[in-house]
């Protein structure tokens, strides 16, 4: 009996130890977000409930992964950064050479027993690698280091862009850029790039008609990528094709009004007008059924999550932790912003899921790894203070 009791207490100690690595505020925010997501998912998958069951399994797996990752101390993570990065790039080259093509893009690699999508892994390993690289050269960061970082970043981004997978390429690029930004890239370099971006978007908005005229080709872009941008500028130009997505999701969101049509009452959703309604366009479902109110709640939840992540970054004693936490937080922001932007018709349709809400096991696991990393960084700070 006594033995059992001590065993019990040991086990409790053990579990408590595991859970102590978790950050309560971040965990709470995540639970609120995932509950809301599950509610929306139940509606979006009403006509094919097996997807909903799969979604629940994905949730359990992803939360388990988060719990495990949170246990890994940052120092161990730094050791893993280089191997992970190298393996990731090798796999990408493998995709380039032997990959399987699906829907016009070469993204999958068959490794015998299953197919994997290496580009997903790079979303984590690129910021990990860059954070580790800057951390190693912490004492004397020079321009040369930024150039090396750029090369580290552009190799996987280039490979992913070439698959082609514009959405993932943008997300990996963004994650890397955020690390470089937090590492202290000179404002003199940041401001011109921002300026070019703003000018570019403005040009597109003004000269869009001419640039989207029949037969005009954009150097460096595939036809479907050009099409996405052009459709965004004028969805009615292709109401049956790609414009259909934007028009129908705008109708879904707009018809939701302030309070929404009610859970499972969205006509656009349930009459199959909203395309990809349980994956990339799930925000349209949410905004149709819960209205502006629901959309604002979602924005606030994301802001809380990003804010908590940035707070963890700002408090981390390690440069590695700061850079990684900052990049992960802003990556989460990028996911959310790009997805909601495309679904509401202000950004081109690139395949970016709504973080923690869209259906898809891989993306959910990746995001939860990110959360696990944030928690690991925060736990490391707490333990250091306790010591």
């Amino acid at each position: 009996m006594q033995l059992t009791a001590s065993r019990w207490s040991a086990l409790r100690e053990r579990i408590f130890g595991l859970l102590s690595a978790l950050d309560p505020p971040l965990l709470a925010i995540t639970f609120v977000l995932l509950s809301l997501a599950t509610l929306v998912m139940a509606s979006a998958t009403a006509d094919f409930s097996f997807r909903f069951d799969a979604h629940l399994v994905n949730l359990a797996v992803a939360l388990g992964v988060m719990l495990v990752v949170a246990q890994i101390p940052p120092l161990r993570l730094m050791q893993l950064a280089l191997p992970f990065y190298v393996v990731g790039v090798v796999l990408l080259i493998g995709v380039e050479l032997f990959g399987e093509t699906s829907k016009g893009a070469q993204r999958w690699l068959n490794i015998g027993f299953t197919r994997i999508q290496p580009s997903e892994m790079l979303k984590i390993s690129v910021p990990l690698m860059l954070a580790w690289y800057f951390h190693r050269h912490e004492a004397q960061l020079r321009l040369r280091d930024f150039l090396v970082a750029l090369v580290i970043l552009l190799i996987p981004v280039g490979l992913i862009f070439h698959q082609p997978d514009l959405g993932t390429a943008i997300l990996v690029l963004a994650a890397g850029v955020f690390v470089i930004f937090f590492a202290g890239l000179s404002w003199k370099l940041i401001i011109p790039v921002l300026a070019i971006g703003v000018v570019g978007i403005a040009t597109l908005a003004v000269e869009g008609d001419a640039m989207c005229a029949e037969g005009v080709e954009w150097p460096g872009f595939k036809a479907y990528q050009r099409q996405r941008v052009c459709t965004l500028l004028d969805p009615t130009s292709d109401p049956r094709g790609s414009g259909f997505h934007i028009i129908q999701s705008s109708i879904a969101i707009g018809s939701g009004g302030v309070f929404g049509k009610g859970w499972k009452e969205g006509t656009q959703t349930h009459l199959e007008f909203v395309p990809e309604r349980h994956t990339d366009f799930i925000f349209a479902v949410m905004a149709e059924e819960f209205g502006l109110l629901g959309a604002v709640v979602l924005l606030l939840i994301y802001m809380a999550m990003i804010g908590r992540g940035l707070m963890i970054a700002a408090r981390s004693p390690l440069l590695f932790g700061r850079l990684l936490a900052g990049a992960i937080s802003l990556s989460c922001f990028t996911y959310a912003f790009v997805n909601m932007g495309m679904v509401t018709g202000v950004l081109p349709v690139v395949g970016v899921p709504l973080p923690f809400v869209s259906y898809g096991g891989t993306a959910l696991v990746t995001l939860c790894i990110g959360l696990g990393l944030l928690m690991s960084i925060e736990a490391h700070r707490r333990r250091r203070r306790e010591r």
């Binding site: 912490e138 004492a139 004397q140 960061l141 955020f178 930004f181 937090f182 202290g184 129908q248 705008s250 109708i251 879904a252 969101i253 707009g254 018809s255 939701g256 009004g257 302030v258 006509t267 656009q268 009459l271 199959e272 007008f273 905004a287 209205g291 502006l292 959309a295 604002v296 924005l299 994301y302 802001m303 990003i306 804010g307 940035l310 970054a313 700002a314 440069l319 700061r322 900052g326 937080s329 802003l330 922001f333 912003f337 909601m340 932007g341 509401t344 018709g345 202000v346």
Partner: protein, 629 residues
């Protein structure tokens, strides 16, 4: 350098960047919020309307077309439901490939393809057009399993018109066809376009055409919720269609059948009318055609055959072809002469076998003449000389005036389309008809030919039967009609087409009696006697022969002329003589004498209608019939 990279300073600079990042997040989320606000608050009404438009579709529910039933309840036109495979050309990128692929699932023959192409030429381009009709259950199942491969192709259950008696009364019933551009324009002009949403067939001729608005019914509407793919999910509201009205005809299908059979392979027309109402009992034009061929779009081979046939089966001879009445004109001449006071029944001529007028000799059929001929005898033996003289004495204006009262030379107003006017010759008519002054002049000699029903005289069998009916009814004129009742299927309300006498020809009973007696004697002792030998009822009649080709006085040898140039055989009759139940006019084209081939048909008609005797086969030709008409 070390100063710049001191941990404290680094941390400060890092936090500054975190604040910047936070600000960026806030700005971007504010942008998103403004976008949400724009869509969900400012433009909410617009998008809400768009969503409703997406959601709700107004689908027409087509009414069942009314049935056509004969006077005894036999169904002549009905509907049946069948599966059709339909293609919406506007939604199909490569039509040929699609049809080729469909041909692997269902049997599509070359004629189906041809018909489909013809339909495409004639149709509104957003229509859904059948590539195959009457699919078997197996074909339906095969297609449904592969349906996802064929956007824009669908299997539909549709109601089709069916004429169970195939060729019976085809010229009366008419036929249905797909709505073509011309029909669509007509529908648009009539302001009934809404009622034709969802309908793709329309009456093209006969009763199907003239009673289209009754037969069609009122289209209902269903408000349905549809998916993006156009699949109806549930019905929100429904305005049921009102099925088309049934037509009950005055026509007797049994009689019609007897007549069509009686003609055999011969060409011609017969119209039988009930004198007490004007109801048409039979209206036959031979040869007939099968209106079922038109129902799902006639294929080009059949269309070609119907149109190029020398027998012109699509032509409704009974109401559209005008023939010289020949000697069947004589009773009306006699009646007119009595009424106008130009002859008395007793007035007799000595017939030498010819009549000389203006240096021209008009011959009688009987060489040497009929001797002394009064009015009664002139009809019974069909003496031409009597009528040559009468015409000369009476004059064309008098003749034309009386015949107009008998309804000859004008449309009767029967309730199907396509009636011809015919020709009632008169100086006025000639002036209108011809352009050159020398052609416009009326010659007195022309009046003489008119007197025996030749010359410019040309009337439809309907007009002739109508005139006989007026005589049988002692001068009361009823408008001929085919439809007796229009029945509303839903309410059971019946709209009667009342037999209303439209007018009365001013005739004296004693005059009528003379003519009627003479016509009875035609069938007892005259030209119709052989055909009516042994009949248990008394039938009045008059035979006639109409020249299809002018012989200019030469002797007529029927057998030696090419068939198409031979004379037409006519017969007019009514029975029973004392209380006429049926009046008719019949023509057999290029058949020679009326007594020979037309009168036996009339005999079969009366035997059936009055006695219920169904004949075993086509009416016999009486080869020994006298040529004296």
């Amino acid at each position: 350098m070390t100063d710049l990279n001191s941990p404290e300073l680094q941390l400060v600079r890092f936090r500054r960047r975190v604040y910047f990042a936070g600000a960026l997040v806030l700005v971007c989320f504010a942008l998103l919020f403004s976008r949400f606000f724009w869509l969900q608050v400012v433009r909410h009404d617009y998008y809400a309307t768009r969503a409703e438009d997406n959601r709700i579709a107004l689908l027409p529910v087509t009414p069942n077309r009314g049935l056509i039933i004969d006077r005894k309840g036999e169904v002549l036109a009905r509907n049946y439901s069948a599966y059709t495979l339909e293609i919406q050309p506007s939604r199909v990128a490569d039509l040929e490939t699609t049809i080729d692929e469909l041909a692997q699932l269902v049997n599509i023959e070359a004629r189906d393809r041809k018909r489909f192409r013809k339909l495409m030429d004639e149709s509104r381009n957003f229509d859904s057009l059948p590539i195959r009709t009457r699919l078997t259950d197996e074909e339906v199942a095969r297609f449904i399993a592969q349906r996802y491969r064929f956007p824009g192709v669908e299997v539909r259950a549709r109601l089709f018109r069916q004429y169970p008696n195939t060729e019976l009364a085809s010229h009366v019933l008419g036929y249905m066809g797909r709505i073509n551009r011309r029909d669509a324009e007509r529908i648009e002009e009539a302001g009934v376009a809404d009622n034709y949403r969802g309908t793709d067939h329309i009456g093209k001729s006969g009763l199907e055409l003239s009673y289209e608005s009754d037969l069609h019914g009122v289209t209902g509407f269903e408000q349905v919720e549809v998916t993006a793919a156009g699949r109806a999910v549930r019905v929100l509201s429904r305005t049921p269609p009102q099925n088309g009205n049934n037509l009950r005809l005055t026509l007797d299908a049994g009689l019609q059948r007897v007549v069509e059979q009686a003609f055999g392979e011969r060409r011609g027309a017969l119209v039988a009318i009930e004198p007490s109402s004007g109801g048409v009992l039979a209206l036959v034009s031979k040869p007939t055609f099968d209106p079922n061929l038109f129902v799902d779009g006639i294929d080009s081979a059949n269309w070609e055959a119907l149109n190029t046939s020398a027998d012109h089966p699509l032509l409704n001879r009974a109401i559209y072809s005008a023939y010289p009445p020949g000697s069947t004109f004589k009773p009306f001449m006699a009646l007119g002469a009595l009424t106008a006071g130009k002859r008395t029944p007793q007035f007799a001529i000595a017939d030498p076998g010819h009549f000389d007028f203006g240096g021209h000799r008009f011959r009688d059929d009987k060489v040497g003449g009929h001797g002394s001929v009064d009015m009664h005898k002139s009809i019974v033996v069909s003496c031409n000389t009597y009528y040559y003289r009468l015409a000369a004495d009476w004059g064309i204006d008098g003749i034309a005036g009386f015949m107009a009262q008998m309804g000859l030379g004008s449309r009767t107003g029967i309730d199907i389309e396509g009636e011809a006017t015919g020709v009632l010759p008169s100086p006025e008519w000639k002036k209108k008809r011809f352009k050159k002054p020398e052609q416009q002049k009326w010659y007195a000699g022309e009046t003489i030919s008119v007197g025996i029903g030749q010359g410019y005289n040309a009337y439809t069998m309907l007009q002739l039967a109508h005139a006989v009916s007026i005589l049988a009814a002692d001068g009361v004129v009823y408008k001929p009609h085919l439809v007796k009742q229009v029945e509303n299927v839903r309410t059971g309300a019946v709209r009667e087409i009342e037999p209303q006498p439209t007018r009365r020809v001013n005739l004296k009973p004693e005059h009528i009696a003379v003519i009627k007696q003479a016509m009875e004697d035609v069938n007892k002792a005259g030209t119709g006697a052989r055909a009516f030998a042994g009949a248990p009822y008394v039938a009045a009649g008059k035979t006639g022969t109409a020249q299809a080709f002018s012989l200019r006085g030469a002797q007529y040898r029927g057998g030696k002329l090419a068939e198409k140039l031979r004379d037409h055989a006519l017969f007019i009759a009514y029975a029973p003589a004392d209380d006429p139940k049926i009046a008719l006019a019949v023509i057999v084209e290029n058949a020679g004498f009326g007594a020979q081939s037309a009168a036996p048909i009339a005999r079969q008609v009366f035997d059936y209608y009055l006695l219920g005797n169904t004949p075993a086969g086509p009416a016999p030709e009486d080869a020994d019939a006298t040529d004296s008409e």
